[in-house]
């Protein structure tokens, strides 16, 4: 059995942090750990994975892998699984990761645990914890189908450096343009000087209590001082104060930062589903009865328009 594989999440050579989180976690299972990277011109990334303990780095480098597309990626992975027989494969629970893993799992008629927050993998058996019902229940699922497949939530595992051999393996490229069935017509990257929500160590979010774009500006001041990602509740997104990609919650993104600061957010269950597993939570809210206080480690009853600028001044001292 060729140990645990971690599928690398990268775009244009930029590797997502969750990849390193998965590598560090996979090391704990004691078996061989490999990074698997698909893309175009990605071989140069190999030493990056060795830094986080990858014993091997499988590199499938070809034009057809230039952009994520389900058909070609699945065809390639199926061939590599048959050739190298990994015990388990971990994917990131990103849009691409869950798309890839689901179609692969069905092709292999295998089980798949998605959005995993805890993992234990041994030979032929995976035990995974998933947060379901908007985070209100934890389900432990067992997978014994071959290989064991899971998608992992970003931010739940710690990045730990450890030297690995990082031996590059170049499997035969079997996927061709004929495997591609989705044509990507356009891709608009989110342009922001701030870190991305799911990767940021600090997230500062604004809700309806911001009352408008002016209030969001106040929240942004705090976010930028902390080098934080900016987020929002559905109320502030539906009001058009923030872009859709910044919604935190059940229908938005699930974030897992070290620190989450909720400003003018009541803490509806659908919002909590997206942030309640953050390590530290603070809130600023005028209503002492707001449910957000129930999940906050530090809550300020007060007006964000007054408290935030003063907090910014204090932090600058």
């Amino acid at each position: 059995m060729a140990g645990t594989w971690v599928f690398v999440e990268q775009k244009d050579g930029n590797i997502r942090k969750v990849t390193f989180e998965m590598l560090a976690e996979a090391k704990k299972f004691g078996d061989e750990v490999s990074a698997v990277v698909f893309g175009k011109g990605v071989e140069a990334l190999a030493p990056e994975f060795a830094k986080y303990g990858a014993d091997k780095v499988y590199v499938a480098d070809a034009d057809v892998f230039g952009e994520y597309n389900t058909g070609a990626y699945v065809a390639q992975m199926v061939a590599m699984i048959a050739e190298y027989k990994p015990n388990a494969i971990m994917f990131a629970h990103t849009f691409n990761g869950r798309d890839f893993a689901s179609r692969l799992a069905q092709k292999l008629e295998a089980g798949l645990a998605t959005d995993v927050i805890k993992a234990e993998i041994s030979a032929g058996k995976g035990l995974f914890t998933r947060a379901i019902y908007a985070g209100k229940v934890l389900a432990k699922v067992e997978i014994t189908t071959d290989p064991i497949l899971a998608t992992i939530r970003a931010g739940v595992f710690e990045v730990v450096e450890s030297a690995g051999a990082g031996a590059v393996v170049k499997p035969a490229v079997v996927a061709t343009a004929a495997d591609v069935y989705q044509t990507i017509k356009d891709f608009k990257p989110t342009v922001s000087a701030r870190p991305e929500l799911t990767e940021a160590p600090v997230v500062v979010s604004g809700g309806r209590g911001c009352k408008g774009p002016e209030g969001i500006k106040v929240v942004e001041q705090l976010a930028d001082l902390l080098g934080a990602a900016l987020g929002g509740s559905r109320a502030s997104i539906d009001s058009g104060w923030l872009g859709h990609e910044l919604q935190v919650g059940q229908t938005g993104k699930v974030v897992n930062p070290n620190l989450y600061i909720a400003c003018g957010i009541s803490g509806a269950i659908q919002h909590l589903a997206g942030m309640s597993s953050s390590k530290f939570i603070a809130c600023i809210n005028t209503d002492p009865e707001a449910p957000i206080f129930n999940v906050s480690d530090f809550g300020v009853v007060g007006d964000l328009f007054k408290v935030i600028p003063l907090t910014v001044d204090e932090l600058k001292k």
Binding site: G111, L112, Y133, V141, T183, F298, G299, E314
Partner: protein, 251 residues
């Protein structure tokens, strides 16, 4: 053109969850159509109103009570329903197999679904269905257009938004921002009672995963709550941010 919409009956998102005998207690829980599936139903009805589609069929796999979810979709404006009787303990593999078998029989040009079920959802079923049927798929869409045997959708993507085109037949899963689902009208509810719904048994398929345990997350410890003058509160908050949460300050 015919559209099939997969609707799952789920717990109301506001429901308080309790465990009983190691299982999630269902008694007293309000059941609804999965909110993402409601958006898919709305999308299908709008395609019919634009004359792109002439029949909207809703299918649901589950217990007898899933009939309520089908009736709600019919009241919104779907034409016909199919209830696939299946143990609600069926996993995403078994559900995809059961749904795909009926979809194959119906042979629609388009299959719509939600991108995730709000209860124990896994974001797998639509993609699994697509694989079984050999159809292309697009997930988490926020707009959809059909022309010349192709479907083009905007969707959420990692680090941005994307426009993707695939040929029909295809499986498409929705994000809630695609549209605003309508409330069934009184007339719709009356008409739904007369609309045809057939019932079939799910094809046999074994689960691929096993749930070994349910647990409630540990209740959070009550934190600090302060109600003081803004300057005092700000000083305390700043101190907590720096010394307890240990966030870095970018001066």
């Amino acid at each position: 053109m015919k559209v099939l919409v997969c609707v799952k009956q789920t717990f109301d998102t506001e429901a308080k969850i309790e465990l009983k005998d190691g299982k999630i207690a269902e008694a007293g829980i309000n059941l609804i159509i999965n909110p993402y599936d409601e958006v898919a139903v709305e999308g299908a009805i709008q395609l019919k109103e634009k004359n792109v589609v002439n029949e909207v069929v809703v299918i649901s796999a589950g217990a007898d009570k899933a009939m309520d979810a089908i009736r709600t979709a019919l009241a919104m404006g779907a034409d016909r329903g199919i209830l696939i009787k299946q143990d609600t303990a069926a996993d995403e593999y078994a559900r995809a197999v059961a749904l795909a078998a009926v979809i194959k029989e119906e042979n629609p040009e388009l299959v719509l679904a939600g991108h995730v079920a709000a209860d124990d959802g896994s974001s797998q079923v639509p993609t699994r269905i697509a694989e079984i049927l050999g159809y292309p798929h697009i997930n988490v869409i926020t707009s959809l257009e059909i022309a010349d045997g192709k479907v083009t959708c905007s969707s959420e993507a990692d680090g941005g938004t994307q426009v993707t085109e695939v040929s029909l037949p295809a499986v498409i899963s929705s994000q809630v921002s695609w549209n605003e689902p309508r409330y069934p009208s009184m007339k719709g509810i009356m008409q739904a009672k007369k609309k045809p719904v057939s019932t079939v048994d799910a094809v046999a398929a074994d689960n691929k995963i096993k749930i070994v345990e349910y647990a409630l997350p540990a209740a959070k410890q009550a934190g600090i709550k302060i109600e003081e003058d803004p300057d005092v509160a700000a000083a305390k908050l700043a101190d907590w941010i720096m010394n307890t949460a240990k966030a870095e300050i970018k001066k």
